[in-house]
Symmetry: C2
Subunit: 227 residues, 2 copies
């Protein structure tokens, strides 16, 4: 077998899809900060510049990765109860985001919305409208949800991790936070170590918002502002 034949048989040609797949896998495995064009090329057994035949630049690569992730979200389930429909889909989005922890930051960093995100938001707006919310209310509701629509928990800092024993000095400086941490500590649930039950917190906020929206819908809320 000549070298050319060997190369011929073993090497499937690159294409945009394979590049994006590999990028997502690499980000999953090593984190978004470790994702460089050079590293990705190496993973694909190719010289870095080869990637540029399939994506214009790194920004476009990130766009494609964001779209790939958003495309993993389940389609909306049918049903008469709009809160259930929306809730279910958002929790699906959250599961996707948990599979790809880097994705939240990437999606947020896109300057404009990518097609898949637009499609998702459009479909989500449709769910609200189908549920009987006015266009006016739906608009503000979508804003109020913000990135929570895509399952971001948008915590201020990462509550996971080792966390270890609480710093005693910290309790003195930040008494209220210490008190909160104490209440969180002595209930079991899905939180084994020290942290909070992120899933509970997410659903708590989500349901609070959805209930608020439904209440506004029932009372025929309309934005009072006009020129």
């Amino acid at each position: 077998m000549t070298r050319q034949e060997a190369r011929h048989t073993q090497r499937i040609p690159l294409n945009r899809d394979r590049v994006l797949r590999a990028a997502v896998a690499l980000a999953d495995a090593t984190g978004i900060d470790a994702l460089s064009m050079r590293r990705l090329a190496q993973e694909l057994d190719v010289v870095p510049m080869a990637l540029y035949k399939h994506v214009a630049n790194k920004e476009e690569l990130l766009d494609g990765m964001a779209d790939a992730v958003v495309g993993e979200i389940d389609p909306p389930a049918a049903g008469p109860d709009w809160q259930r429909v929306v809730r279910g889909r958002i929790l699906s989005a959250r599961r996707v985001l948990l599979r790809h922890p880097w994705a939240a930051r990437v999606i947020e960093s896109r300057t404009g919305p990518t097609p898949a995100v637009l499609a998702y938001l459009d479909s989500m707006a449709g769910s609200f409208r189908d549920g009987g919310l006015s266009a006016d209310l739906t608009h503000h509701v979508m804003h109020a949800m913000g990135s929570r629509l895509l399952g971001f928990s948008q915590e201020l800092f990462d509550t996971s991790g080792p966390s270890g024993p609480p710093d005693p000095g910290l309790a003195a400086r930040y008494p209220h936070i210490a008190e909160l941490a104490a209440t969180a500590a002595h209930d079991g649930g899905s939180t084994v170590g020290g942290g909070c039950d992120d899933q509970f917190e997410f659903e708590f906020a989500l349901d609070l918002l959805l209930d608020g929206f439904e209440s506004l819908r029932r009372q025929g809320w309309t934005s009072a502002r006009k020129a």
Copy 2:
């Protein structure tokens, strides 16, 4: 005047505070992406490595910048109505964040909470507790607020910018979004161009959440979960 005297008189010695101040100013002026150690050093008329006598590395510089910004938030006003107190402080935080548009991303990207952020959160937790919310409820409420506590609007994409005339093809592909954009377009308010009234949207979501919290407080809500 000798060269030494000239140097002596014109050059105030660097210190951590001056470095942080300059970094914030530079980020305000040119954006966070344009902030590099080299560029910052140049701004301070100093060689890049000089900065490392005052900050350990770039991450610590960003930590310091985050703390500086959070430190600009007004202290809590006193008052019997906890919703007013919290609301006022969050709107102050939002004003600060609008002055430093890069700050949201920087704060979010910190791996652990910085001291100023901790102090802010602690004080905020205190406001909830003073308002009569239980430690339990306060805990979940803080999570539900998430980064909104610091005034992040956490929109999915930037609604500012030129935006221009709406793409007609876009309306066909995303009919619900087009409908929402239409409702947003034909009301005046503080939105002159095409975009939404971000301040209205922010306060809408904020008040919805605060009202929800107060409602839970009144009905003596407690998290039902236990081991």
